[in-house]
């Protein structure tokens, strides 16, 4: 533990979640758990075609069914263009979506919606809608998208923000450091890899769901499962064309998000139903609909070329990415940019670097934000190429990383050149324990004992691999979070935050930060999070922002409240405010004399110079300090069947001070297991017509308890001087590790390089056979 973290009373402790009691006792805390009388059930009709124009749509039979309240189509709903990406305003995603449109662009795209007294009636009504389609030629792969004469997916004239609509190009990024061509000429060794990643989904166990209703003032209330309540309010107002003040968004407990709920997907439809009918409306995606029509990780093809000097120093890095954003450009530009901006700074010593890429439209499922956000796709080829470079140079892969990775006090030109779809912000690294992460991880996996040994057990061959990585903590100069803290006369505090706990435990760790500043126990913090009427603004839970950005807002609010408390307590203790300290629910003077917080607040509320002790503070981060991670895996590869088994996974991570170690570990454990699934089993399989062929949790295989290998998560503490209590964020980084780490371990075991995820038995076996030729 860092020295500065040693003296914390509340921070650094694995305290129980503030919402834990409600969750383990099954209290009705989630969106669909609130039952309102007279609620309408909303169902959506999805397109059967990947690309088609709707030539006519007849809803008379559907409307005539008893119990149907309304049927929505492009003919009777607002047509404002917007993006469904819940990003800061102005969003860097194109405004290429409408609530409903006379054109459909992927199988499952919205055609119409029905609201009825029951789900069964709504489903019957969907079947009664008569739609005539004119099927259009479809773009069903990344390669077809940019081909001369390819069908134009967004041929409408009113969608701003598309880079080159006529060529199906959503976004284009191109940045240079030094002269990469020259750099390769000057290099002694060159390695090049192209890796492809698959369509994959977040699969939170709670699917997307929203309940809308009108309150007593006839305002629209959206109780919704979202990571971005404030962006929901703004984008729904824009989409429906109603004043923002008419909307209140409430985020209750959320059943997981992982990025898919950084999307304003259903709120417009449910909200419009309530506005039209005056009745509550519940819209829940079935698991099948979630697979077909929500969001995915952008599949990518990423090529990495590395040039190094004979001694191992990287001299040139080139990364070229092509991203498939599907039918709509949600997060298209920013995920693409992140593929470079979150990976290339890791190897900051290369004087020459080039990142370029394009995101293209296809008539396939839509990409979106997904934990890792492009970095996952970028680290696969980068860390594979590093592994190969080590082999070529005859170096230990660990050594090669050691001499090339970014260090404390250093910077990278990439920070400034490439940011959130635009220029970034320059920064130097102020905390970095990556060298220790590597040491600890190598020791724990048994690196020197196992590397290159190819231990055979029957037809299983063992190997070990490693990779390193960094991510960020929020989006500098763009994100903004605020928190309000007010004191009650029993010495408790209301902590009101826009920060969005989607199961991550942020309510708890943010309350721990406030409790630490104020010298009280966690039980004195009464947390209210994410209600646009009650809590101050926060961009929401994405980009690993919550601990670092929202945490700093909370810390500042708490510090202001502390100063107000000192102001009131000073005359009570006959001391100067500067000499006071807070601990154990009381204010202490240097003399040792104390007064309880309850007494202080009573005086402020009822006795002298009365006022409400309380403050609101904000944070706009000026940098995005990176958490660092060293991954190690031991795998066993069955040379007969091609099956890959992860035998042991070790992740040593530097996330600054862990505010709540259990929860920081939990973020890592969940992300890594998700990443292992992404590496080995998870894949959305698409038919030749663009339909998802495995839209169920039976056919789309996420890992269960039997599939999870023994894991060691080691928190290697540093102290981030710009972070709240020394903390950095840790929500995303873990998911980037498994793919390259497992790929490198497979290479160590059987000498083949896998370049396409997931590493299914068929692919592995094929690669082994290919290599034997």
């Amino acid at each position: 533990m860092s020295d500065r973290a040693k003296n914390f009373a509340t921070v650094g402790k694995s305290l129980r979640k503030v919402d834990g009691f409600a969750l383990v006792t099954g209290k009705p805390e989630f969106v669909a758990d609130l039952q309102l009388p007279d609620t309408l059930h909303v169902k959506i009709l999805g397109s059967p075609y990947a690309h088609a124009r709707i030539t006519s749509i007849d809803v008379t039979a559907a409307e005539a069914i008893p119990g149907v309240a309304c049927v929505l189509t492009h003919l009777n709903t607002p047509s404002t263009r917007h993006t469904t990406a819940g990003q800061g305003y102005p969003e860097p995603s194109p405004y290429d979506s409408r609530m409903f449109e006379d054109k459909v662009r992927f199988v499952g795209d919205r055609v119409a919606a029905v609201a009825a007294d029951s789900e069964a009636i709504a489903e019957a009504a969907l079947k009664a809608i008569r739609v005539q389609y004119e099927e259009l030629p479809a773009v069903l792969s990344m390669d077809e998208a940019r081909r001369e004469g390819a069908p134009v997916i967004h041929d409408e004239s009113d969608s701003p923000g598309i880079y080159d609509a006529a060529r199906n190009i959503v976004a284009d990024v191109d940045i240079d450091v030094g002269d990469v061509k020259q750099g390769f000429t000057e290099s002694d060794e060159i390695v090049e890899f192209t890796c492809e990643t698959q369509y994959a989904q977040h699969t939170p166990i709670e699917t997307h769901v929203v309940l809308s209703y009108l309150d007593s003032a006839h305002r629209l209330v959206l109780r919704t499962s979202t990571q971005v309540p404030f962006h929901v309010r703004r984008i729904v107002a824009q989409t429906l064309g109603i004043p923002m003040q008419q909307i209140r968004v409430i985020k209750p407990r959320i059943g997981g998000g992982f990025g898919t709920k950084q999307e304003v997907l259903l709120e417009d439809v449910a909200g419009w139903v309530s506005l039209q009918t005056g009745r509550p409306a519940l819209l829940t995606l079935t698991r099948k609909e979630e697979f077909e029509a929500s969001r995915t990780r952008h599949p990518m093809r990423v090529r990495v070329k590395l040039g190094a000097k004979r001694d191992g120093r990287l001299h040139a890095i080139e990364m070229e990415a092509t991203s498939n954003t599907g039918a709509y450009g949600s997060h298209g530009l920013t995920v693409l940019a992140n593929t470079g901006s979150k990976t290339l700074p890791l190897y900051n010593k290369a004087p020459n670097a080039h990142f370029y890429g394009q995101a293209v439209y296809t008539n396939l499922p839509v990409g979106g934000a997904y934990r890792g956000y492009g970095a996952t796709q970028g680290y696969f080829p980068l860390e594979t190429a590093m592994d190969e470079m080590a082999v070529r140079l005859g170096m230990d892969p660990i050594e090669l990383r050691r001499i090339n990775h970014i260090q404390l006090g250093e910077t990278s030109p990439i920070f400034e050149k490439l940011g959130e779809g635009r220029e970034g912000v320059s920064q130097t690294v102020k905390s970095c324990e990556l060298p220790r992460c590597i040491d600890i991880g190598a020791e724990r996996i048994g690196w020197t004992k196992k590397r290159g040994k190819r231990l055979k057990v029957g037809s299983w061959v063992h190997g070990v691999g490693m990779s390193i990585m960094m991510q960020g903590s929020g989006i500098p100069e763009i994100d903004m979070a605020a928190a309000t803290l007010k004191m009650n006369e029993d010495g408790s505090f209301n902590l009101l935050m826009g920060a969005t706990d989607l199961g991550t435990g942020s309510d708890t760790i943010l309350a721990q930060i406030a409790a630490e500043v104020l010298g009280v126990s966690l039980t004195k913090m009464l947390v209210t999070s994410s209600d646009t009427d009650l809590t101050p603004f926060d961009v929401g839970a994405y980009a690993s922002s919550t601990t670092y950005v929202s945490g700093m807002a909370v810390q500042r609010a708490a510090e202001q409240v502390r100063d107000q408390i000192f102001g009131v307590a000073a005359p009570m203790l006959g001391a100067s405010a500067n000499d006071l300290t807070l601990r154990d629910d009381a204010v202490f003077a240097a003399s040792g004399e104390s007064v309880s917080l309850a007494r202080v607040c009573q005086r402020a509320m009822y006795e002298t110079d009365q006022f409400q002790i309380g403050a609101t503070a904000s944070c706009v981060p000026h940098e995005s300090p990176a958490p660092f991670l060293a991954n190690f895996a031991e795998v066993a590869v069955n040379t007969e069947t091609g099956k890959v088994r992860v035998v042991h996974y070790v992740a040593a991570v530097d996330c600054g001070v862990a505010i709540n170690p259990h929860m920081a570990e939990g973020q890592m454990e969940g992300a890594i297991v998700n990443g292992i699934g992404y590496a080995l089993t998870e894949e959305m399989i698409l038919s030749s017509k663009g339909r998802v062929r495995n839209p169920s949790l039976f056919d789309y295989k996420i890992l269960g308890m039997l599939d999870v290998p023994p894991m060691d998560i080691i928190l290697v503490e540093s102290y981030e001087p710009t972070g709240p209590m020394g903390a950095k964020s840790v929500g995303e980084i873990g998911i980037n590790g498994p793919i390259p780490t497992i790929a490198n371990a497979i290479y160590d075991a059987v000498g083949v390089r896998l370049t396409q995820t997931p590493f299914t038995p068929e692919r592995v076996l094929e690669a082994i056979k290919e290599a034997a030729k």
């Binding site: 129980r16 409600a22 166990i205 199961g503 259990h662 939990g666 949790l697 269960g704 308890m705 894991m711």
Partner: protein, 158 residues
Amino acid sequence: MTITLTINGRERKFEVDPGEKLLEVLRREGYMSVKKGCGTGDCGACAILLNGRSVNSCLMFAAKADGGEILTVEGLATGEILHPVQTAFLAEGAVQCGYCTPGMVMSTVDLLTRNPDPTEREIREALSGNLCRCTGYVKQIRAVQRAAELMKDGEPRV
């Protein structure tokens, strides 16, 4: 048709459609801890105890449960006093979003009732039908082990 269920110790009668699933009936009647994650028997979010055994309520027709005894997570704690399985899940940090938690807890109660001292392998097998996307299962496995210890130490059993 009318069915009779004893839910969390209380006998109740319900009107149900023959095609209605137990999950839908339980949620309609206010047992909101019973979650739907798939509706196809693949995730375990809807797991409850029927006559002491864990079942996925999304697959079962309500009519088939007629006359049965049902325990949901709402019926597990006694006021503020948590069941040891609930305590263990909280103490080990095994709850993130909590959406899988009711099903996970009920399947754990079932396991520990049948097998008070399970090996790690037995835990993994017993809970393999309960999917969790948040935790990576590490802390959940530890929570089950801790719950087994708490229950051995004489904490109240169901």
